[in-house]
């Protein structure tokens, strides 16, 4: 029989798990970066032609190409970019000169270091996604709980109706309606914009609350359905019957026995959703006119801005990988059976 090794009791096991996960994360990021790089050059367009002003002649284009290093062999370009992240690199006078690690290159379009762009836009996306995720989890799990407990009543049906609406609607529609009502008609809220939470928390919340609400409305629908189904399934489990046979009251049966078993799949889905959302909420950012990671990435693709594309894709991948790691850790905390493997 296997020895018990909980997360706490086996530090070496925990360390092995982490090392293994980090190695696989690095491998994932490497694959993502190679694919992004190759896809960029597979596009049937010349990045130089897009950034050169009207009176372009082949000589000028060639000079720009040389400056950007785009005429070097692909392997050299890739190695240069990736090494820059670790060691920093010298980009030459036209691109701001020395670029310290982690150097993500110089944007062809924005005329600034990509690192600076990220420092500006990542907090925006974090500010949109993190509060929205808290909201949609609370709303989704709450709705799912209530409708499972009141199964078959009008409350349940209303909740199901809501989730159906949430699953069918789109963010640009919900967002537009919210904007129309709360900003342009009632005037209760300012036009959405981003202010740093450290500068003015009230303006930060006021400028983003509609984005949170529309994300929460849409995402919570899925969670409500998932959690309701999980809870109903769990309530039929033998161990719930055992709990009742012990003489436990309803709340104790739910709280200590049913909820914990039903929440595990919600954690998985939430981790994946949050990870993906942190990679950029393009539609939300566009709907509310806020420049976050998502819009930056889309703009970069449109402009053929290789360093920015690489950087945004890598950051998004890091978020997804981290979210997955977190889900695995949480799972081990929730379900002791996972800890053995």
């Amino acid at each position: 029989m296997a020895e018990p090794c909980g997360l706490g009791s086996g530090p070496s096991l925990m360390a092995r798990f982490l090392v293994k996960r980090i190695l696989s994360a690095v491998l994932t990021l490497f694959a993502v970066s190679v694919l992004t790089f190759l896809m960029f050059f597979a596009l049937p367009r010349d990045p130089v032609s897009g950034m050169c002003p009207k009176n372009c002649n082949p000589e000028r284009q060639e000079r720009v190409r040389q400056e950007l290093g785009l005429s070097d062999p692909l392997v050299d370009q890739y190695a240069g970019y990736m090494l820059g992240i670790v060691t920093g690199r010298d980009l030459g006078g036209a691109q701001g000169g020395r670029c310290d690690a982690p150097c993500l290159g110089w944007s062809y379009v924005n005329n600034e270091a990509v690192t600076d762009t990220l420092v500006r836009v990542v907090p925006v996306t974090l500010s949109i996604v993190v509060p929205a995720a808290v909201l949609w989890l609370l709303l989704g799990v709450g709705l799912g709980l209530v409708s499972a407990l009141r199964r078959g009543t009008w409350i349940d049906r209303a909740a199901i109706g809501f989730t159906l609406a949430g699953a069918s609607l789109q963010i640009y529609f919900v967002g537009a309606v919210l904007l129309l009502v709360f900003v342009y008609t009632l005037g209760w809220l300012p036009v959405p914009s981003y202010t740093s939470i450290f500068d003015d928390p009230v303006r930060w919340a006021g400028g983003l609350v509609l984005a949170w609400l529309s994300l929460a409305l849409l995402f919570s629908a899925g969670y409500a359905r998932l959690f309701r189904a999980q809870l109903l399934e769990t309530l039929n489990e033998d161990f719930v019957r055992t709990a009742r046979a012990k003489g436990l009251s309803g709340p104790a049966v739910y709280g200590r026995h049913a909820l914990r078993a039903a929440i595990a799949p919600v954690v998985t889905v939430a981790g994946l959703d949050v990870g993906a959302a942190l990679g950029g909420t393009v539609i939300t950012e566009t709907t509310f006119g806020i420049q976050g990671l998502g819009r930056t990435a889309v703009d970069a693709v449109r402009a053929g801005d290789l360093p920015t594309i690489m950087a945004t894709v890598l950051v998004a991948a890091v978020f997804v990988v981290l979210a997955n790691l977190l889900v695995d850790l949480l799972y081990a905390v929730i379900d002791p059976r996972v800890r053995l493997s």
């Binding site: 018990p4 161990f239 012990k246 003489g247 200590r256």
Partner: protein, 344 residues
């Protein structure tokens, strides 16, 4: 003295979308302290519905329980949920079939038992509770109880899990133990150990036990009384000796004939009961067993039209629901039971 558990004309109805199902129909019996009643029958006979009714665990939105159940003189049917909760786990405890699914996978077994104790001992402190649980784990034959306390169900073997389940059921010294197929998920050797444990515990605490099983081998080992159920009804009831040695109902004969025996004629084939248990939504008229019964011809149409009443046969509380005339029945009984060597 009044028997500890008295069940009178118990009926459990389920309403489903396809119609009403009577899972338990007019079942009556008593169990005294220190005695074991085995409820026998194929799957779908209503045994588990009966067990859940004894704890008042049926969901009132889905099932209707009628008739009378008294535990230590107190009626259970129609009692408010809060009163039932005080009874569950304290006076009446239950052991389930599959301990792996009946124990919560996310909590250490010791803590699950401790929870059962603290529900009914609100003032018990942490240390006292742990001491009590470790004592119970030790009592049910779990070695290193202090270490096992913190282990999870998946870390224990099937036998240990069922022992832990029994420790959970016994932690509040219940007077009545309901065991629903407690050995069905276990190896044969472990089965024997678990049954022995139950008998030991009963001898020590004078527990009344209702043991639900489809395994007549188990019945032979532990039963004082036997209740044979089919399609929610009682076919035959009596002391274990009566029912096992001189079974009177063709269904009981069939059950016995379908069990391999070490002492019977080695040439005799196992003979399963032909056909399947009836669909409870569409029960046959008359005796519910008649479509599968090979002994209807001396009776004729009554088997198909008139449900037999449970009435006394012989002496000493042996009861039977069958239309077969006495002489014919005794002749056939001798034939049916010597063939398979029922003398257990």
């Amino acid at each position: 003295m009044d028997p500890y558990l008295r069940v009178t004309d118990l009926r459990v109805d389920f309403t489903s979308t396809d119609g009403m199902v009577r899972a338990v129909d007019g079942v009556s019996f008593t169990v005294e302290r220190g005695r074991t009643l085995c409820v026998v029958g194929e799957s779908g006979a209503g045994k588990s519905s009966l067990a859940l009714a004894l704890l008042g665990l049926h969901d009132p939105r889905r099932a209707t329980v009628a008739g009378e159940i008294t535990v230590a003189g107190h009626g259970l049917v129609g009692r408010p949920e809060a009163a039932l909760r005080r009874l569950r786990g304290r006076d009446v405890a239950m052991i389930f079939q599959d301990p792996l699914s009946a124990l919560h996978p996310y909590h250490p077994v010791g803590r699950q038992i401790a929870e059962a104790y603290r529900v009914h001992h609100r003032r018990a402190g942490r240390a006292e509770t742990r001491r009590r649980v470790v004592e119970m784990l030790d009592r049910v034959g779990i070695s290193q109880p202090d270490r096992r306390y913190d282990q999870y169900p998946h870390e224990l073997s099937g036998g240990l899990r069922q022992r832990a389940m029994i420790a959970m059921a016994l932690v509040n010294d219940p007077a009545l133990l309901i065991a629903d197929e407690p050995t069905a998920a276990l190896d044969v050797t472990v089965q024997a150990q678990i049954l022995e444990l139950l008998t030991d515990v009963q001898a020590e605490y004078g527990t009344a036990i209702v043991l639900i099983t489809h395994d007549l081998g188990v019945v032979g080992q532990v039963a004082d009384d036997v209740l044979v159920m089919y399609a929610g009804r009682v076919m035959e009831r009596g002391h274990a000796g009566q029912v096992l040695r001189t079974p009177q109902h063709p269904y009981t004969w069939g059950l016995l004939a379908s069990v391999p025996s070490l002492r019977g004629d080695p040439e005799a084939d196992l003979r399963p009961i032909p056909g399947l248990p009836p669909n409870l939504l569409d029960l046959p008229d008359g005796c519910v067993f008649h479509p599968r019964c090979r002994h209807t011809e001396p009776v004729g149409h009554r088997c198909r039209t008139e449900p037999p009443q449970l009435r006394a046969v012989g002496t000493g509380g042996h009861r039977l629901a069958c239309h077969l005339p006495t002489r014919e029945r005794i002749r056939r009984q001798a034939e049916e039971t010597t063939r398979v060597g029922v003398a257990r």
